[in-house]
Every structure is written in C-alpha cells, then in structure tokens.
Symmetry: C2
Subunit: 524 residues, 2 copies
C-alpha cells in the first residue's frame, strides 16, 4: 500500500476557520482562488478581481500539504483533547444546555463564508445544540474515533451524502477499501459505511477508521453473521452484543441495526413483488421466523442503547422492510416498520443516544412526498437517511441517475442524508471509478436539495461558476465544479485553446459571445 496518499484540488488552498467559544477549533475548508475578470473599458484592458470561494471540505488532513500522512500510523487524532474525561453523549450535553466543541465546529463548517458575504444564517452553535437536544440532528462521533472531523446530519443543515464501500466474500482487499475511503473523502462523501462481509472484517475496519476523517458507519449484523457461518438461526443476542462492543471499541460512529422488524409484520413482505432486499433485515427476519420469536434486536433495544451511549455511537434504525422495487413502495410492510422505528427512536433519546431513520430504496416520484411526510410524523422529526430512492426499476447500469432523481427530491423535502448509489448497483461491487461517479451524482442531488430548500449561501458556488462560464474563464469554471478533473478532461477532448468559445458552437455561433456584444451595444 502507498502510505502517503495526498489529495489536491486545482488552484485551491487548505485554510482553517477558528472557533470563538473554543478558540483551538480549526475547521478545514477549501479555498478556490479565482482569476480576475478582464474587461475592455473605453479601449483599456481592466482587471476586476474575483473573490476566492470557500467550499465545504471533506478531505480532512489529506489535502493539507503541511501534514505528513502515514497510513500505518493513522491520521492526526484531532478530537482527542476534546474527548478526554468526557462521559456524556452529544445529546446529553445538548440537553444540559452545553455547547460542545463538536457543535461549534459544525456551526462554523455549515456556514463558512456566509458572514463575510453578508448572508444571513440561522446556524449558530446554540442552534446546533438545540437541534441535537431535540433529536432533529445527529453528530455521529464515537469517542474512540478522534480522527473524525465533526459533521452534522439534520434537515435544517446541508444535505449530506454517505458512500458505501466494503468487500464481500468474493472480492476486494483491505488496501483497495482504504483507497476507496480516501477517494470518497476527496470527492465529497460526508460519511462512509464499511459494508464488508468477507474475510478480514475487523482488520479492514481498523485500517479505514484510523485513516478516516469522516464518520464511519457499519451494519454490525454482517460481522455477527460471519461468526455463525452465515446461519441466521444460530445468531444470539450475546454474539451480537459482543460484536457491537468490539466495533464500539474500534471507533465506529454509527450502527445500522434492523430493530424495527417485528415478528408480526414479517408476513407483510410475502405479497411483495421483490420480498426483502435488506441484507440485515432478511437475516433477522429469518431468525424470527425460524424461532417464532420477537427478534433479539427489538427485545434488547435498551441494552443496545446503553452500549451505544457509553461510546456516543449513533443508531441508524435500519429499514429491513424497505421496498426493493417501485411496485412495493409505500406498502404495508414498509409503513409498519416505520411505526416501530418511531417508537424506538424515542427510546434511544431517553438514553441520550442519537438516532436517525433509514428509508427506501425504490419509490416512484409521486410517492416520495408521502414517504417523507409519514417519516416526519411517525418519527418525531428524527433525521431521515434514504438510499436514493430509485424512481424507476429499468435502468441497471445507470442507477446512480435513477436514484439521484429521487434523492434530490426527497432531500429537498427534508431528508438529511442520502446514501449514494453507484452505476454498479444491482450488478456488482463498485470499483474506484464507480465510487467517484456515485459520489458526484449524490453531491449533485444534495446540492440541488440545498438550493431548493434555500440553505443559506447554497448558490454562491453556482453563481461564481456561472459568472466564470459567461466570462470564458474556463479554468475557473473547471476549478469551481464538483469534478474539476473530469470537466477539464472532456473540454480537452475537443478544444485546443481556452478561447472565447468552444467546439460546441464554434466561434460564430457562440451565444454568450454574441450576447456580450449586445450588452456592449446597449452601453454605447
């Protein structure tokens, strides 16, 4: 493995914003430097500077040239001093009226350069505290994962995206998974789920965690299932509990647990076109069915919360009955589980454990709103975390697109985090390039949602890019885009020069060029 991975963005610098309550807080952001606008005024060439743009940065220390990275050693443990001697969870402190360093950190991170640009923002450290206290936002931050930079998941904040990585029995290795994790951070993944199911689950996770500047989630059932050689009926609470503790100790920030599956509801999936498509959900359902008992995940939910509380691990209530086809969307099985989740999330809060709710899956556009509204109602405002949803079923190979449509819409309606889908969905495991494509597709969906919901300052980057585009500042246009490398690559395929037109229209037919001569007519 190459031990010194670095991330760089063109014409960008890593800069740090500082805290007021906690002056030692350093929030890393990316500053994109722009070239000046060049205009002819009364026959003279005039340069007008364009202010640099600060953008949200998930790349952690990898993009700081001052920091030596050594994957064997792990990245700097930036939260270590904040955590020392701490006993409560973020939610506990929030309820006590205490603003933690993590809360101030995310308040700065969410708003960045709003202030200096005169944009009003409601997001203050105190606002963050209130949202966490109310359960409407989650800061996933295991005390054993001090390498992670604080981020927040809640409907009144920027829409976040999660990327799934991880090997299966047939594929992939540790090195590749660590590379994918860093790669996800480069392109903008806000959290990562390690869904490994093959050999080396523990070691793979350890390597990722020690080098991961974003929160890491897992589905602990996968490892428990390996421990019983893939025989669902052999699972026990004790095996599951030990797995939870093992992963808490390692530093996992949130667990997907399918506690919402009730014995009485499993049969509801039988009339479906595509049954159950959640791995965790199908495993625990099988256990319930074989033993004809309520699941130990449901029965021991308070014990699970107690374990999570000790480490400040958040619970992601997994949707074991999420629909696997548009046909099965919003059906009785899905909604029955949602009701149970609404009950469980309040129990988690009673333990001061942060929680959010997972959602589908496959939902046609006209059923998305009902899904979102019902989640808000039944789950008391807890953040929603959806996979897509895919709005059609007939495009395997392009499901990053079918799902980005649903994701953008549900993000606008209030979903707090979107789990990405790659082009390989339904077909195989994503490789590095699929991860990149999936992340960008979801950055698009999340950003579209931020703009539509009127998130403060969300349009700054769009406006800067559009201005650069209109002024033929090609380099700035590329640098401001979500994937500068790809934009430049495509441009170069058909253009030699960075002139005042491109090959799309050629020089005569460039509308923007003509448009500018019209403006000049007016000015005369």
């Amino acid at each position: 493995m190459e031990n010194n991975i670095k991330i760089s963005y063109p014409d960008s610098e890593k800069v740090y914003l500082h805290g007021k309550i906690y002056p030692d807080i350093r929030v890393g952001v990316r500053r994109i430097n722009l070239t000046p606008t060049i205009k002819m005024e009364k026959g003279k060439r005039v340069e007008k500077p364009n202010e640099p743009l600060l953008v949200y940065d998930t790349s952690g220390p990898y993009s700081d040239p001052e920091i030596d990275i050594d994957l064997r050693r792990g990245i700097p443990r930036m939260r270590e001093s904040w955590i020392e001697g701490r006993e409560g969870t973020q939610m506990f402190y929030a309820k006590q009226g205490i603003v933690t360093p993590e809360m101030e950190y995310v308040a700065i991170r969410e708003t960045m350069d709003c202030k200096q640009r005169g944009i009003d923002t409601y997001i203050t450290p105190e606002f963050v505290r209130q949202e966490v206290a109310a359960g409407r936002a989650v800061i996933p931050a295991n005390r054993r994962h001090p390498e992670s930079e604080p981020m927040i998941i809640g409907p009144r904040f920027r829409v976040k995206i999660n990327t799934n990585i991880g090997n299966s029995a047939n594929n992939s290795n540790i090195e590749e998974e660590v590379e994918k994790a860093v790669w996800s951070c480069k392109w903008g993944g806000d959290t990562i789920m390690d869904l490994s199911t093959g050999a080396d689950i523990h070691d793979t996770r350890e390597w990722i965690l020690r080098n991961c500047p974003v929160p890491l989630g897992t589905v602990p059932m996968y490892q428990a299932f390996e421990k019983v050689d893939g025989k669902a009926e052999k699972l026990t609470w004790e095996i599951f509990r030990d797995t939870l503790i093992e992963q808490c100790e390692q530093g996992v920030d949130y667990f997907t647990i399918h506690c919402g599956i009730r014995l009485q509801n499993i049969h509801l999936a039988n009339s479906r076109l595509t049954g159950m498509v959640s791995r965790g959900g199908s495993i625990i359902s099988k256990w319930c069915q074989v033993h004809q008992k309520e699941s130990f995940l449901y029965e021991h939910f308070d014990d699970i919360c107690e374990i999570c509380r000790q480490y400040d691990v958040a619970i992601s209530l997994g949707d074991g009955l999420r629909p696997g086809s548009t046909h099965d969307a919003n059906d009785a099985a899905q909604f029955a589980e949602l009701d149970t989740m609404g009950e469980l999330v309040e129990r988690a809060w009673a333990h001061d454990v942060q929680a959010f709710i997972e959602g589908p899956g496959h939902v046609p556009m006209h059923k998305i709103k009902e899904n979102m509204e019902r989640q808000i109602e039944k789950c008391h405002g807890a953040p929603f975390y959806t996979l897509g949803p895919l709005v059609i079923d007939i495009a395997p190979g392009y499901d990053h697109i079918t799902s980005a449509i649903g994701a953008a819409m549900i993000g606008w309606m209030g979903t707090a985090m979107l789990c990405y889908v790659t082009p390989k969905e339904h077909l195989g495991l994503p490789d590095k390039d699929d991860v990149r494509t999936g992340v960008i597709a979801y950055k698009i969906a999340a950003h579209a949602a931020d703009i539509a919901k009127g998130f403060p300052g969300a349009t700054l980057r769009d406006d800067a890019l559009s201005k650069a585009r209109y002024e033929f500042r090609w380099k700035d246009q590329f640098n401001l885009s979500l994937d500068p490398d790809r934009a430049l690559e495509y441009y170069k395929q058909s253009n030699d020069v960075g002139g005042r037109y491109c090959t799309m229209c050629g020089p005569h037919f460039c509308a923007m060029r003509i448009s500018q001569t019209i403006e000049k007519c007016d000015e005369q």
Copy 2:
C-alpha cells in the same frame, strides 16, 4: 460509410401491430421474450412461463431483419401512400373531425399491449384527433419525410425525448452524424434535432433525413446565418424564408424559430448573470439591436406559418431568452418571451399549423413548478418542450445527471418532450458514447415521469424486470433494461456465473435469496 447498419436487441423480435380504421398500418414494436420462472413445488421443478413484453420502439426498419438497409438509397418510405394527394395538415384534418393514418398509428403505438393485459387506456384514435385539434398535441410529420414513423408530443401521451446531434465549424462529418442519428434511434430517441452549423449543412441533413425513422427538427437560423458569413446584421427575411423553404422541401419535420424575441424585451437580459445562451436567440437579438427594429421572425410570423402549413411542418417556438444559469431562472426576460409565445401559438393554430413551446434550461427545483404552470396558462395548453432543466450549475461533465433531475420533475408536471443533455454539455460536442449516455439518462427521466403521471401500462416493464431480478433471471433482467449491453458488461466485470446471487453481497448475504427461504417457511 458502412451502408447496411442494423440494430438488434438481445432476445427481442420486431413485431407489428395493425390498424382497424386503416388496416394497412403496421406499427413496429419490440417484443422482449422472457425465460420461464423455475420453482420447486413439492420437490418437483416446475416451469412457469413469463409473458413476453412489448415495448415502444424507435429503431424503425433498422431492427427488422427482413428489411435491407442501404443508406445510399434511404430507408423505406412508409408514409408515402398516406400522403399522396393530401393537402391539409394533421391539425387541419383533426379540426375537420378526420382521423388520419398517423393518428391511428400513434394511438396504437402509445398503448401497445395495454388491451391484452386488461389495462384501461383513454388513448384512442379519436382521442388523438381531439388532442391534435385542440393544439394540445403535435404529430410532427412533414409530407416530404415519408420515412418517418408517426409519433405524438403532448402532455397526455408518453413523455418523449429529443436528441441533438450535428457538427460545428470545427468538428465532425456527415458519416458520423448519420451514425449518431441511427444510434439515437437505437437507444430510444423519439426525435432528433440536427443542429449542424459547419460546412455541408444541406448534405448532412439530406443524409440524415433519408435514413431517419423519427421526426427531424432543425434551427433554420443556423443555415441562414452561414449564408451571411456569421454576420447577424446582414440577415434578411428573404434569406431566412428561402432557407425555410429549402428545408421544408428536404423534409424537416419541425423548426425551432425564435419568433418570441421582441425588441422591447431584449434589454431585460442585460441584468442577467449569464445573458443569452440561445444561439438562435442571440443572433436575432443582435439583428434587432443593430437595426433597432422588431425582428423579421416576429414580423413575418404569418408568412412563416403559411410556409409550414404547405408542408405540414410543426413550429417549435424557440426560447431565445431561456436562462443560462439557475441564477437567471424564471426572470422577467424569460417570462416576457413566454407571453409572446402564447400569442404566437394561437396565430399558428389559426393557420392549422401545429406548434409547441420550448423551455429552459437552468432552473432550480423549487422554481420548476412555477415555470410549468405559467407555460400552461400563457400558452393555452400547447405542448412544452424543455432542455433539462439543469437544477444546479456546478457539475460540468455530469450535466446529463443535473438535468435529468429537472427533466423528470417537469415531465411529471406536464412537459411533453425533454431535450436531452449529454455529459459534454458546456464543454464540447458529444461523441457517440455521449449520445448513448444522454439518451439513456433522458429515457430514465421520461419513464420516471410516465410512471409518476400514471400513464397507462407505464409500470409493466418495471414490474417485469423486478420480478426477473427477484427470481435471479439475470438474462431477463438485462434484456428488459434500457441498456442491456451496459448492464451485462457491468455484471460480467465481477461475476462469472449467473447464479442465485452476485458479487455485491456474495452467496450468504444475498437478501433476496434469504427472503425467498423465509417465504418458503411461511408456505410450510
């Protein structure tokens, strides 16, 4: 050039549906044959057949093995006998209460196998006639383009997609453009616009038209502009008129004309971030500005209609002031032009000329609804034909995705045709692979819209694919997908066998596999 291009789809056959009013009508559709479902019942292997699926087919004679294709000769002139002796337009006949063969053709084409599957449909030849008579739907079908298979554009029909091809001064050649045209038909493009601006405009168009089974649109201004060497101020009505007639004679089915630009409104674009981004719009605006006169496109609109009427060419009222950035969406400039379009569309109808309205462009999600509602109100129900819209500006290289989000939403709200956007948008001219990606992204958007608006039978294909997926009928899953080749290619990258799981989860973790064993528990 290879003269015998063929199109084939895996495990599919070309079949023809016949007319009742006009028994000689043969509507080509693609029949996808499926393998049987294999189940174990009481220890015995039982095969249950799956009915083949009929799907809408834009590939024309290219997918009929019985037809010899020779690009030099052109494809069969299937509408020739219907057109002979005809004088009126589709709209003229519709208003007279006459159902044309084209109307019955599209009625059959839109509904396909609804009847045999017992799905109610309101789409009858008479319904088509009423929609065309009212101006709510357009059948673009120049009498000089008998090679074209009738299709219909209107909000109560399937959402259609258009693909733009064409060379510019710097790029591409005739052979490539014909290949792209057939390629577009293969993947599902419903119409094609030839936006060539370089040399050989006339010949490129001729080759495309004679081999094009779908309606072809152009922006005649591009050719007129070449005739005056790219000097907008030198344009005249006469030059434009002659270009129109030349293209009518060749067989172009619809013209984008930017008649909606009024001298008094041009200044409204000055306060924009990105001015004008329509090529035709900027050219005619420049003409107006230089001459300080109302445009000859607006002044001669009735003459334009008369020319179009003679050939039954439809007018696509071009949106010269469409926004080029989300910042400029829904602004005074755009809406002023929309008002003018509303006036012009009624004048077109008075000439029995079919017309539709072009729309943006760049619109954030929360402004899409206003755009659509205003179009319906101001343009008296004439079909809307939008480019995307792109919902954010910061993803050059991925604008097929940013725009598919907007396209799906606006299609659901009532837009009749979606103009595709390829990954090369804003960066360069699309190559063949970009055309394929752009078409599939837009088939996704259009299909998502059809499902959301409840188009009769729209979910048949999704349900068939989902069933195949759940039953591990991999081949059927691929064959039913929008791009079978890509799905198979991705699957093969990580899977050797077509077994009862894939590498995504491996055998133990396959949720669908476990889910099926749960169903069996229940059956016992």
